[in-house]
């Protein structure tokens, strides 16, 4: 009886120990700076999608930064070191978030003119008299041109709201869509807006993803299409999209799609890029690492990670605040007024 009881207990313990066989045991991993540094480096190494495109030698980056990490380093210094290392990827979608700070790579717009001043637009073009709905600011300009400012693709727009806005501009000669300083958001909102400016399905671009940890392990580009918004107002008159270097991520994607449409002219500065769909991973210490994991290509199969050139390059004057003039917006108004949009 005793032997039987022991056997039963052993069987039960064996069953409990099955856990050890099936879940990879990382309980031996210590939450130290070295562990977290190696975890950070490996996650980027296995998931970042632009190594080949940007020609980054990630092994060299490791060799440069790893000796500077020791377990006595303070959280703040360790965070700064990691942020510095990640900056070598030159990617606005790569950042590290801890409880006390977030690291960002800002160079993609810091070295360029700002090219947008909300006060100038509101005061001198909208006369502080405009509508706002679903993240969109809009007004009919005195030149009989519709103006839309959309500051973030994170702000969802309902089809009904968009119908109201486009109906408001139905008698206008054209429409200006201002996505300067738009840092991106949801790609589905790109389709919601872009689908109002097409009357037939279009090839919007291609999407890829990593298929394995190797740097060059990318899937075949998958074509994706936008279809006209059936049952809703479509806009077929000339459209000008305004851009600056702070037009990034989903906004960059919006410009990429709009640029392929024949009635659309892009005016302003080169966009900020950010064409990689970001994924996020935890470090062992709980910090979150975001990185570009899935490249999105334009309809010609080109990567737009470094940005998209406008049809007409215009910078705001350095003394714009004194003159009260927005040269990019002025150019757009003139372009529509003279129907000089680029015919492709």
């Amino acid at each position: 009886m005793k032997i039987k009881s022991v056997l039963y207990i052993l069987s039960a313990l064996l069953l409990v120990q099955l856990q050890a066989c099936f879940v990879d045991d990382d309980s031996h991993v210590q939450d130290t700076a070295k562990t977290n540094f190696n975890a950070l480096w490996h996650i980027v190494d296995e998931h970042y999608c632009f190594f080949e495109y940007k020609g980054v030698d990630w092994d060299s980056v490791y060799n440069y930064y790893a000796p500077r990490v020791n377990d006595d380093i303070s959280d703040q210094d360790f965070f700064n070191l990691c942020g510095e290392m990640l900056a070598s990827l030159q990617d606005g979608h790569v950042n590290l978030a801890s409880a006390f700070a977030s690291s960002y790579y800002w160079k993609w717009f810091q070295d360029y003119p700002v090219n947008y001043d909300e006060r100038i637009v509101h005061e001198n073009y909208l006369n502080f008299d405009f509508y706002q709905a679903g993240g969109i600011t809009y007004k009919k300009l005195r030149e009989n041109i519709g103006y839309i400012y959309y500051d973030s693709f994170s702000s969802s727009i309902s089809p009904t709201t968009l119908d109201y806005i486009l109906a408001h501009f139905i008698t206008c000669d054209g429409l200006i869509i201002d996505v300067r300083n738009n840092g991106g958001g949801s790609l589905s909102n790109v389709e919601v807006i872009a689908s109002r400016f097409i009357d037939a399905p279009i090839l919007a671009g291609y999407i890829q993803h990593k298929t394995a940890p190797a740097h060059d392990a990318l899937s075949e580009p998958y074509a994706y299409y936008y279809r006209p918004a059936e049952g809703h107002i479509l806009y077929g008159k000339p459209v000008v999209v305004l851009t600056n270097r702070h037009t990034f991520s989903a906004a960059n994607n919006f410009v990429q799609v709009m640029k392929s449409l024949p009635q659309v002219t892009i005016i302003g500065d080169r966009t900020g890029g950010g064409s990689g769909l970001p994924f996020t991973y935890n470090l062992p210490n709980g910090w979150n690492l975001r990185l570009s994991a899935s490249p999105i290509l334009d309809a010609d199969g080109n990567d737009t990670e470094w940005g998209i050139d406008p049809h007409i390059k215009v910078d705001m004057a350095p003394n714009a605040y004194q003159t009260g003039r927005d040269a990019i917006l002025d150019c757009a108004i003139e372009c529509i007024a003279q129907q000089q949009y680029i015919m492709k």
């Binding site: 069953l15 790609l187 298929t211 998958y222 935890n282 062992p284 994991a293 899935s294």
Partner: protein
Amino acid sequence: MKRFLYTALLCVTALYAVAQQDSIKPLCPVFTAVEFEAGGVRLIDTYLSPWSYKGWDIALDVELMKAMKLDNYSWVWQQRIGLNYGQTRLSISGAGLTREGGLDYSFAMMRRSNTPIDGLQLYYGGDVSLRAQGLYNYHGGNNPTSVKADISLGLTGMVVYNFSLGKLPLTARYQMNLPLVGVFAQPQYAESYYEVWLGNYRDFLHCGTWANRFDMGNRITIDMHMGSWALRVGYHNRIDTTYENNNRYQLVMHNFVVGFAGDLAGVDYKHNNRPVIRALYNISQ
């Protein structure tokens, strides 16, 4: 001639009587158990994060069993539907947060056979199971969710032992479920669900075999008969693993089980002389 007619009449009457007796179908009540579970869970899903998470899990499970007419009532069917929810944090540091939850259903058919040991019965057969499981990691990005959906065919078996402790009748049971083949969903290594939503289903559904997937369920329960129902206590262990597209998913759950069982649907035995054939064990009426 008269003798022949009487004999024929007697035979017809006898046959009719036998036929009447055979047509009395046994009553097969649906044995029902409702279980509440609580315990611990440990998981890793490298699509979301390369580290393991551990935390708690709660579940609600309903079990139905009924004897089948097949092979003179030596088969039973069993259906289970379960709902679970859990919350986990990084095993290494206790930071981060991943929630998990899902719905599963299984239908099993088992043959039962008695053994030379008094009170011990064996059940063995196959089952088909469906599972929809989701993980949500609060780190954000475009990969916060990992969906687990599968359908599979497998083996299942139970050992049931009826015995008494003093005057208290008990039924101890161990059941194992072992899916063998099936189909499960898993995006590619770092493919976003957005891309899947755009229509890229390539390499999204996978044939699951022990080469890329191993699941197992273990359930040990003791039913303490309390008149017309039974109090159930026990332990439930679940192991789900997949390895596909360079992504690992592993979940191990250990839950304590408490519940009640019996002919909960209510069967009118008093006004019925039909024999009763039960799927699991006898319950006093």
